[in-house]
Symmetry: C2
Subunit: 408 residues, 2 copies
């Protein structure tokens, strides 16, 4: 199997019969636009794509530490900053990147226009700080593309049905990019990042970790929700449901990265695609409540519940460390007896090929047992086996599994 099919698509459709221009959405994260020099090289990259004949829509994050600096200012004026005002505040970061990048593109002799989330027609619900995109009204983007302009859209933000500025929360810029790619019928949504693609394991932990050429949406979804930080889970969900082909690649090189696309049933697939991990995740144990009531309340509080396991009257679930306070408040409000463990992490084996290979689970447990690593909580899906282990054991577990499944 090669990746040529996917990488060739834009060039073929764009160049073959001239008038039919293809659209590409290119998303650049904070490290890719960290300073004026990096912004200028992003501008050059966008101009190259434009000169190759594409209609180019770029989604930019805030420059480097801008968002953190704004949050720091907020903390200096208020212990509990108002959510609406926090959105007014932090949404300026992406606007700065986009305006600057547009200026740099003008200097290269091309036309460009920066748009706020609101101007780009990113319509969201009214949940400040964690808004969900409910519609994309891309009139201004289409008009700009028709004028042959490169369009720069401020990521991570939108405008609510009540005309308020909202932000999308974690992974917001990825979601902006994927939603735009879906709305514009883009050939591809390119996610530019500081790593050259998706790997079989974190290369900082596993020396012989390999970059993957292709992944299916389901695999990427499992990997992202199990700790692969390269893309946010919600953005992959949007890509899958609208069938937006993703290409995760490096900002700093032209080497192709990892393509993420629909599963092809006929295609022979590796047993395991990779091992992902999370060093910390809070694990809760709750009794005396129905799952329906519990998870409705947690969803209402915007707690991102990950794993759910129930084998008796007790419900066990995990959620990100950042959601600890929201979860605690919700559980207390329900008047429940609950406990939480803060000393666990998670190691997950992901691969579409494991569906038809029941031996994977057995091998996973044997490997961890041989390494002396206990697994207090286990959960599985058709393409994933996830084990909660002590945070201190996470690195060793990843290395042992990567070796055992010969992923290097």
């Amino acid at each position: 199997m090669t990746t040529t099919d996917y990488e060739a698509v834009p060039a073929v459709e764009g160049d073959a019969e001239a008038p039919q221009l293809h659209t590409v959405v290119m998303k650049f994260g904070g490290t890719s636009v960290a300073d004026p020099e990096k912004l200028k090289s992003v501008a050059r990259r966008l101009v190259e794509a434009h000169e190759s004949g594409a209609r180019v829509v770029a989604v930019l994050s805030a420059m480097g530490r801008t968002t953190d600096e704004l949050l720091d200012l907020a903390r200096q004026v208020s212990q509990t900053p108002d959510a609406r005002e926090l959105d007014m505040l932090v949404s300026v970061g992406e606007r700065i990147s986009c305006a600057l990048c547009a200026m740099a593109i003008h200097d290269l002799g091309h036309e460009a226009i920066s748009l706020t989330g609101s101007q780009a027609g990113i319509v969201t619900d009214t949940v400040h700080g964690k808004a969900k995109i409910v519609d994309v009204r891309a009139r201004r983007i289409h008009e700009a593309l028709d004028r042959n302009e490169i369009v720069l859209v401020a990521g991570f933000q939108g405008v609510s049905s009540e005309h308020e500025v909202t932000t999308l929360g974690r992974g917001g810029s990825d979601t902006t990019a994927v939603a735009l790619a879906a709305a514009l019928g883009a050939e591809v949504c390119e996610i530019y990042t500081d790593v050259p693609g998706v790997f079989t394991a974190d290369p900082r932990l596993v020396a012989d970790a390999r970059r993957l050429d292709v992944l299916f949406f389901e695999e990427m979804l499992e990997m992202a929700s199990s700790g692969a930080r390269v893309m946010a889970t919600r953005s992959i969900e949007v890509a899958r449901s609208h069938n937006v082909r993703l290409h995760v690649r490096s900002t700093f090189s032209d080497v192709p990265g990892t393509w993420i696309r629909e599963e092809e049933p006929m295609l022979e697939k590796a047993l395991i695609s990779g091992v992902v991990h999370q060093r910390e995740e809070t694990v809760y144990r709750v009794a005396g409540v129905s799952a329906a009531t519990l998870f409705a309340a947690l969803a209402e509080a915007s707690v991102n519940v990950d794993t759910i396991v129930q084998t008796g009257p007790e419900i066990v679930f995990s959620a990100p460390v950042e959601d600890r306070a929201d979860a605690a408040r919700t559980l207390d409000a329900l008047g429940l007896d609950w406990t939480a463990r803060d000393d666990l992490g998670k190691v997950s084996l992901v691969g579409a090929g494991m569906k038809s290979h029941p031996g994977v689970a057995a091998k996973t447990f044997a490997t961890l047992e041989a390494a002396g690593i206990g697994t207090p909580i286990v959960s599985t899906s058709p393409i994933k086996i996830a084990c909660h282990v002590a945070s201190a054991d996470v690195d060793r577990a990843v290395q042992a599994l990567h070796r055992a499944f010969e992923l290097g």
Copy 2:
């Protein structure tokens, strides 16, 4: 004459017969909101006004050096930044101040909402960087005031008829404040600044300069256009044409400042209100063009022409040093022969009382002559005598005139 009448107005109308709430617009410049601590004290000031029973609308500038830092970023990515993108970029500064101040007000237990220029309904023409306000559609402000919220409006910016973010250029936040005060029928527009009012001369130059209790619009207009930096000329024009009472006062004390209001014909007025100066102003000499053609072209290029003097075929006019490049481009485009002097400043004597005292001009020239200061260009209005003098002589001229007219 006392100033009690003017200073007492808001309190009387606001407190006397309870249900009739008055509206006050309070504008704070960049030094008043320079850091989180200063923003918090602005928040306290707004809450005090709100607790005293006023409907409070505040207009904030960007924090301290924010705008300069954004312009610096722009220069790092582009030598000739696009005007539209520059407006997208620099307009974020005021939004940051407003969002942070709203958070601080919430912490004090009051409701507040920050609005961008666009959300506040500040509609402008389409001239990026120097837009003029053409309408105020204050629906959202009224709704917020009706909900008993303190409203924070980002100064210096609006939205154009083509739905683009615009900035108002020099003195933009003052203009935002005055335009809002006019549209909302505010009792007063308070201009908070780092000096406690308008003085008979610059206190840094003249040791016994006095703070003025009251000035008429015409006087303030002459003083502002002749170098008093406390308020921008255009904002005073808006105040005069809509009869918005202004109160220029210190951010850092409760002492009343200078009231600026309509002239009362019956009121006995001091001969001279003050001496203002400008250390640098470019003076142009142009021949071979009609005044109509010349000033239409300069207006088109947004050059802020100040003095115009014509005594023969030659037209002499002055304009701010910052407009030098725009003016030069315009004069060249008209194919004119022109020269410019860059070594002149201007000293102006302003006072509504001088109308009926023809001796003022004579005394002015005698004073400057005695000080050995030449006046190559002179222009007058009913309430002003303006003399261009060498930049190096400006300080001495101010001191000599302040003494001669016993303003101390």
